[in-house]
Chain length 162, copies 4
């Protein structure tokens, strides 16, 4: 039976508080029994969230940009090797039941934009997505969370609406 | 010999002033002897810029998301049929020597972000790309144009730096 | 810790003996503790192998061509939604530690070819891949199995060489 | 107005007679007023066919696998830079009105298979595509040519049926 997949996006080069938040997100996602999906690389938000999920006994799927697992986080249970470079960003968001976006740069912004365009709810954690995506706040597709706990509570309402 | 390719991005559903600006961009790009590249569909900025370039005697390449040419603008000289859906946005920007972004939504924003991440200059025409991409203004990768003429002059400085 | 992923490729419209073989492959892969990866659709070799793995208590990942899970097998634990159409065939094989190919048509042949080109071992089960791929038999990248048991034994030698 | 695009596929490392045939194909395609589309790299069938078309005054579009034009043939008029690796093989064939396949290996075979699966006519020139694709000979989707002239005549019947 298909399991819930929560995508965590964010930069490969982030500050320590962002890494700690990403780690906590991974933990909370694992504790919910959800699968964590991210970009799979061994840096930044990807590495930290994977580590958090793994250490909480969860399952992690990494969607890698390259043609092999070189540079992958050691905390992936499954590596999806795409060979697509940045085009794999679309796979990241389409495969997620809901997307949580931590701090990041242009790559993360492209994921937020592609997620919303494809009807996915996006929960921002410290990411200012700009005015171009403001229309998605109407109707609630785009929201902001104040903490990892808040983000995961919001994700829960998306994947299990009452 | 490889010809200069200028990408024009923008929404499929835009207002009349944006369409007029896109048409003018197409004309100016054609008059420079450059190839116009866009997303190829028969709507919005894509259709208008293609029409402008064609009516000025230029060449237009459309990078289509679907698996055939259904829904393509009638003003394409060449249809690149990708079958990749929104993942073709990456192809749009990697294939452009410089990217001009008109008004648009999440799809256009994803193209701006992917372009900058991949080292392409982006010239904004009435698009507010938000604070996440502000770092790219430093160094001049991301600039704003006040008119189609200004945008094309800026593009010229990118493709033929003195 | 990364788990072993075995890809099972094959047609969406196959005869009953092929479905039975695919089901058996799924069972055997699950019993080995490997993850089954396939194209994820609810037909042919994909549906049968997923069912076999699920009923044996295994884990199934389906790499879907569309932009949502419409048409997916009910036996997937995780749906990777690519939106890439047939370009997802590359993802199928790059993500597999070894590929087993059952009967199929042009799609399956493209997967066999892409797998070999990218250095993946391919085990054929009743698929005649033609002379163009014969060079890969030298060195043992391309072999043929006489049964699901034989195929899985061959896969074991690839993923856990002594 | 959209121009006819003929795709020429084939290996990056081929013998001299194959290169000569690819060069001749490029010439003949240019003389017909068609655009030549190929994989764009500076080797084998790609380089030879591009050179033939260019020296006959034609237009060449190369669909490159990498994220920039490094390694591209010097005879491209337009480089479509995909960043998709081998997944660009799908773009090659979907963008061609008809596909001519010269000698090659697994990559070329994947293109033949993907072309047929997507309803494109394929004309083989010295490529043995194997029994798996034999069904496509029925109905005439897959044919064999005895020379570049024969291949281009066959292509003409596909793109301009009487």
């Amino acid at each position: 039976m298909r399991r819930t997949v929560v995508g965590v996006m964010g930069g490969g080069n982030v500050n320590r508080p962002t890494e700690l938040a990403a780690y906590r997100l991974g933990e909370l996602i694992a504790q919910r029994g959800w699968i964590l999906l991210n970009g799979g690389r061994d840096c930044g938000v990807m590495a930290a969230s994977a580590k958090g999920a793994t250490e909480a006994g969860g399952t992690v799927i990494g969607i890698l940009p390259g043609t092999d697992t070189h540079g992958a986080s050691g905390d992936l249970d499954v590596a999806i090797v795409t060979g697509l470079g940045d085009a794999r960003n679309l796979v990241n968001v389409l495969s997620s039941d809901v997307v949580i976006a931590c701090s990041g740069g242009a790559g993360t912004l492209s994921e937020i934009a592609l997620a919303l365009k494809n009807g996915k709810h996006v929960i921002l954690m410290g990411f200012d997505a700009g005015v171009a995506l403001e229309p998605y706040r109407i109707g609630g597709m785009l929201t902001s969370a104040s903490s990892p706990e808040d983000a995961v509570n919001r994700a829960a309402r998306v994947v299990s609406p009452e």
